[in-house]
Amino acid sequence: MKTVMEYLLFATFFLYLFSAVAFLVGVSGAKKKGNAERVKKWGQTGLILAIIGVTLHVAFIIIRIMISGHFPTSNMFEFIAFLCFAVVLGFIIVFFIYRSFVLGAFVMPIAVILLSYATVFPRDVQPLIPALQSSWLYIHVTTAAIGQGLFGVSFVAGLVYLIHKVGNRDKSKSAISLELIFLVLIMFGSFSIVSTIFQMTGYQATFKHAYKGAEVVQEYKLPAIVSPYESKAVKMDSFAGMSKPLFESPKIFQGEKAASKLNSVLWSIGSGLIIYGIYFAIARKRLGKLLHPLVQKLNLELMDEIVYRSIVIGYPIFTLGALIFAMIWANQAWGRPWGWDPKETWAFITWMFYSAYLHLRLSRGWHGEKSAWLAVVGFAIILINLIVINLVISGLHSYT
């Protein structure tokens, strides 16, 4: 059964990938006039692939429940994979309201990045610690994630809007900011690729160092660029002639896994910059400019409405899942509905942010570019809550 589950995951991954390719092929034909037929044909293929992908994703989730006996939203791999599912699901919902193929051409690649980023984390089926043994685990986490998935769709629609609006601009602050967003997305992608490669080759490095009076062992899955503060290498596979770390981490990174996380961040930044550098050397123009023709014929008002509508569809779901259900569970497990744990606080921040967005749009008339930027910032807040809070700031929610 475990192999079936793994195969389902791979199949889901490739279907999302093929769906992304189909959408992109279709949209890239839109440059030429009279090609609406082509966009539609390829777009529909992309949509069908995405729907099959989502179905297989559901099958994957069901089999994982059968194996583990609990809903798979209990660690980083499971949650990010579920968030990817929610984004694709959100896209399908929004598609049937607005029938935008362009949106698919940008949502699906991001779904692919999300799913590959999920697989960086251990995929083992883990038993649940007592705090997670509750049916609220899946009620609370799934509703919150579906809300976040819709916010994700809004983020992508915002990106599409911005590519159209500012992608082609020269030397403007917003064009550079947009390019930075692409760079961050590339870093996520390249980190996933690098991690997969080293997982397959089975790279290992181990360091020993003292932390809070005890000896701690840190295991690296990526070649060590940076070693823990005042540490000794127990074992280090050499990579590309690098058999010693390049430097030692500063004192503030002396936590239990801090140095290995710093190492991962360095790998993300480094590999992302290299991939971007290679791209730039070949294409000799910003990604925004490269992508701009794809969205040239975009109906701007439609995309603006998708940005807003995905948020407004997601907002009640997010409130229910991330605040109300969260409070009910917290009251049951920890005896208080709210405790300002970092994860709770960031859910509150996310909610307040989208509340402010809705007021700005509905009462202050923030449309178009402003609204698109806000959608991007909103999703960045969600990613901060997912990655920074889980991996850097630990609290009651850090189970992974």
């Binding site: 920890w334 700005l360 202050r364 008339g365 700031i393």
Partner: protein
């Protein structure tokens, strides 16, 4: 500013009205000059208290809090502060004895500053609470300032609207119609609109088609939900409203539940670990054990009035995620300490024959003076007990009630009725009085699991829940429906159509295209630029 608020249609409007309450004609000069009245339509162009020109102090406060700009600023300030509060852990999550030292040692200058500024207790600071309170005030005033005029305007709206009103809608169209076709055109339009679930009102040669008006109340209903929720938080300031404490119990122990009339007994506490085969290989090799279950079999007791006897109220197998709940009181599993010292076993030896007479167990939480332990044919009576023994001014005292260094004075009563006194001090060997026949010695420890139960009562829970449900109803109404209106009117051989929605214009335009197709009417081509 407008001096004369009487509209040409003859209706007298309150001062500050933007669009005539009766016919919708723009009244203020700056609005008349605009090509679109989309922004003015938000509250139907009605006069709002906050928009008056002459203001008392109360009006000024009202105007301040009724501003959405102010509300958004409050939200943004709160969310930024909340984020700052998570840079370093909050004090309640810090175990160290000296918080100040902790922040300084762990995070250096930034940590110290964080602590000095009070950010380490961010969410219980008075200024954070006042921000939340101001959001609450803003919620009340913003809603009242808008909902009353909006309700009146929508309730009293007329079918026949001024042509200027219709021409200035974001979506509008004007086509010439022959006099004999007028009626047919309007009837067709009526029919198509009602197919799309619009409620139609007809007045002469004018139509008002409307749907989803209830969604306009969504925001106000969700604000009411939030206000109720905030009221629940306010109630927490009533002393005794909440109980938040902790009780540690070893197996067999009975303790009073703090701040209540109840007692709780720990019958049994267990921790269960996952078997190696239940773990994935990666976790198996680590050697670390993964906890599967913590459970405390607890009994809630109450003293029978006027006596010392206890009566069982309820019992429950408490687990994480499955607390004991009784009339709003919750006991939650939150700590587990295996093999804690519960008591000591003492052995009695006959010094002459070197023969053991037997053992007895002193359970610390269950000691009462003059208690008698039967050991063989001997009666051992507890005369004195010092849990945390020390000598001060050459007299025995106890430093605390914790059994850190227990000491006892026993009298042993022999079968012949003679008695002898004996000292037992843990960790020290005291020579027994010369004449003693029996000696008491440590024979072992009595160990048991200790549970830590959180004691919580939150009376506002129902208030939160009601607030949450109302919020969800309101937010659902406002999010998944929209208020759409189409006005049509024939005047001097021209059919004017104007349409308005409170949101999702693209979807409205698509709908109107579908309405227009069968009757050969093109909508949405003429669109006013947004301001």
């Amino acid at each position: 500013m407008v001096e004369n608020t009487k509209c040409e249609c003859g209706h007298n409007n309150p001062v500050g009205t933007i669009l005539c309450e009766y016919c919708g004609k723009p009244l203020q000069q700056e609005v008349i000059e605009k090509s679109s009245i989309e922004n003015e339509m938000r509250y139907e162009g009605a006069a709002r208290r906050s928009q008056q020109s002459v203001m008392s102090l109360f009006d000024r406060v009202w105007a301040f809090f009724s501003s959405v700009k102010v509300a958004i600023s409050l939200i943004v300030i709160t969310l930024v502060l909340s984020a700052v509060g998570t840079i370093f852990p909050q004090e309640e999550f810090v175990g160290a004895a000296s918080k100040e030292l902790f922040y300084q040692q762990e995070y250096g200058w930034w940590g110290s500053t964080f602590y000095q500024l009070g950010l380490s207790k961010m969410y219980s600071q008075w200024w954070f609470a006042s921000l939340i309170a101001m959001i609450g005030i803003s919620l009340v005033i913003c809603s009242l300032d808008r909902v009353v005029p909006l309700y009146k305007a929508l309730k009293g709206q007329k079918v026949i609207k001024n042509i200027e009103f219709m021409k200035r809608q974001r979506i509008h169209v004007a086509v010439e119609v022959a006099t004999d076709e007028e009626e047919a055109k309007l009837a067709e339009l009526e029919q198509q609109l009602s197919k799309h679930h619009y409620h139609i009102q007809r007045d002469g040669k004018a139509i008002l088609a409307e749907k989803g008006r209830f969604s306009r109340w969504g925001p106000y209903i969700n604000h009411i939900g939030l206000i109720i929720f905030l009221f629940g938080i306010l109630l927490r300031f009533i002393p005794g409203w909440n109980i938040d404490s902790f009780v540690n119990l070893v197996e067999g122990e009975i303790k009073r539940v703090p701040q209540t009339e109840y007692y709780v007994k720990n019958e049994k506490t267990v921790a269960e670990y996952y078997r190696p085969e239940e773990l994935p290989p990666a976790m198996r090799s680590g050697g670390g054990q993964v906890i599967k279950k913590y459970q405390t079999d607890a009994i809630l007791l109450k003293k029978v009035f006027g006596s010392n006897e206890m009566k069982e109220v309820t019992r429950h197998e408490i687990q994480v995620n499955d607390p004991l709940t009784y009339e709003g009181l919750n006991l939650l599993q939150s700590d587990f300490q295996p093999q804690q010292l519960r008591g000591i076993k003492l052995g009695i030896k006959d010094k002459n024959t070197k023969q053991s007479k037997g053992q007895f167990t002193v359970v610390f939480h269950d000691i009462s003076l003059h208690q008698v332990y039967q050991v063989g044919d001997l009666k051992v009576k507890m005369e004195e007990y010092y849990p945390d023994f020390a000598i001060e001014n050459q007299r025995p005292i106890t430093k605390s009630r914790e059994p850190n260094k227990p000491a006892f004075i026993f009298t042993i009563q022999k079968p012949d009725g003679k008695e002898e006194k004996s000292w037992v001090i843990s960790g020290e060997r005291l020579p027994d009085p010369e004449g003693n026949q029996y000696g008491i010695d440590l024979a072992g420890f009595d160990l048991a699991n200790q549970t830590g139960l959180m004691v919580r009562a939150e009376k506002s829970l129902w208030v939160y829940l009601v607030g949450g449900i109302i919020f969800m109803i309101g937010v659902t109404m406002g999010s998944y429906w929209q208020h759409r209106r189409v006005w049509a009117r024939v005047e001097d051989g021209v059919l004017y159509i104007g349409a308005h929605t409170n949101k999702n214009w693209f979807a409205l335009r698509r709908e109107l295209e579908m309405v227009g197709k069968p009757i050969g009417q093109v909508f949405g081509l003429v669109e006013n630029e947004k301001e």
